[in-house]
């Protein structure tokens, strides 16, 4: 893995750890942000909000520690895709909402959608540059010459 790829993996992990760190102090506010997207049933909003934050933490830590980095980057890419579609759908429907992406109450705009798209491309790039799951070691693989 090149130095650039390592830096990108570390940066992506740090971004999402930071994003989750801004939400943990006020999980109730983040749940309200999730509710304002109006794509999750109200009864599921608190659990979905808590899960989103936890997945951001787990994936961020995995990326920084380079453990299952490809899987972590793909999870974050999937999350970003959902965020982007949800945000664009809300804006297209004329719903004013706070993004909730990095805490705070700043209103979401089409620039927020563009930022999410850039992050999505970034996450996909990190996933592409991360090695796939290691194949079984040749020493452990069955030796075809000894096969009956």
């Amino acid at each position: 893995m090149t130095l650039l790829a390592r830096l990108a993996r570390f940066l992506l992990g740090a971004i999402f750890l930071w994003a989750s760190a801004t939400k943990v102090p006020d999980m109730a506010a983040f749940a309200e942000s999730v509710a304002n997207y109006r794509i999750v049933p109200p009864s599921l909003v608190p659990v979905v909000a808590a899960t989103l934050v936890g997945v951001e933490i787990a994936a961020g830590v995995a990326l920084i520690l380079n453990v299952w980095a490809r899987a972590a980057a793909l999870i974050l890419a999937a999350l970003l895709a959902v965020f982007t579609v949800g945000l664009a759908g809300a804006l297209a429907r004329g719903i004013d909402l706070a993004c909730g992406c990095f805490g705070g109450t700043a209103a979401a705009t089409w620039w927020t959608v563009l930022r999410d798209l850039v992050l999505l491309a970034f996450a996909l790039g990190v996933a592409a540059s991360s090695p796939r799951s290691p194949a079984p070691s040749p020493s452990l693989a069955p030796d075809p010459a000894r096969a009956p």
């Binding site: 006020d26 109730a28 509710a35 934050v53 936890g54 994936a59 700043a106």
Partner: protein, 183 residues
């Protein structure tokens, strides 16, 4: 282990971590209590400047005061206040406070005329549809910078106005006889 299995395991671990983080949060979300969107709840918090979510946003040089729905309704029916709708164009088109002008954060194509119209009122009330009133705060600050002296933000935003059965319209104002400045 395949990448898909790793993703599933990360998601499972993340879910547990998220629930633990929620339990440890100073302001946890009640997991068994449904959370409605601000528009559905009919009572957006629209916190006062000194408390709640609005106080955690970046400090502004001037923070607009709040005005309650009942007081604003009286000012509206007496035509003593100009109302500014800071929501998106679709929500404005679906319904807004009677006589409100549409002035989203992105601006208005004829903003000078809009501000000139607002100057004729002793009080300007800005509202949005968000529970935190963040958008209305931004627009109110802009109007203040444009020279309007008494600019306030509607407490509870549009959901509170609807819940309070304030005069509302879509298009032409039925109260003051003025055409709304919708885009």
């Amino acid at each position: 282990m395949t990448t898909l299995a790793q993703m599933a395991l990360l998601a499972a671990v993340g879910s547990a971590v998220g629930l633990a983080a929620n339990a440890l949060s100073p302001h946890p979300s009640a997991l068994r209590q449904p959370v409605l969107s601000a528009a559905e709840s009919g009572g957006g918090a629209c916190a006062m400047p000194a408390s709640g979510a609005a106080s955690t946003s970046a400090p502004l040089p001037w923070r607009p005061a709040r005005i309650g729905v009942e007081e604003a309704k009286g000012m509206c029916t007496a035509c003593l206040a100009g109302f500014v709708d800071a929501r998106g164009p679709h929500e404005f088109a679906h319904g807004h406070i009677a006589n409100a002008v549409h002035l989203p954060p992105a601006g208005h194509p004829d903003e000078t005329a809009v501000i000139a119209q607002l100057r004729t009122y002793p009080l300007v009330v800005v509202y949005d549809g968000d529970y935190s009133c963040a958008v209305a705060d931004d627009v109110a600050v802009r109007l203040r910078r444009a020279g309007l002296t008494d600019v306030r933000v509607l407490q509870g935003a549009w959901p509170a106005w609807v819940a309070g059965q304030g005069p509302s319209a879509a298009g032409i104002c039925g109260v003051c006889g003025v055409e709304a400045f919708g885009k």
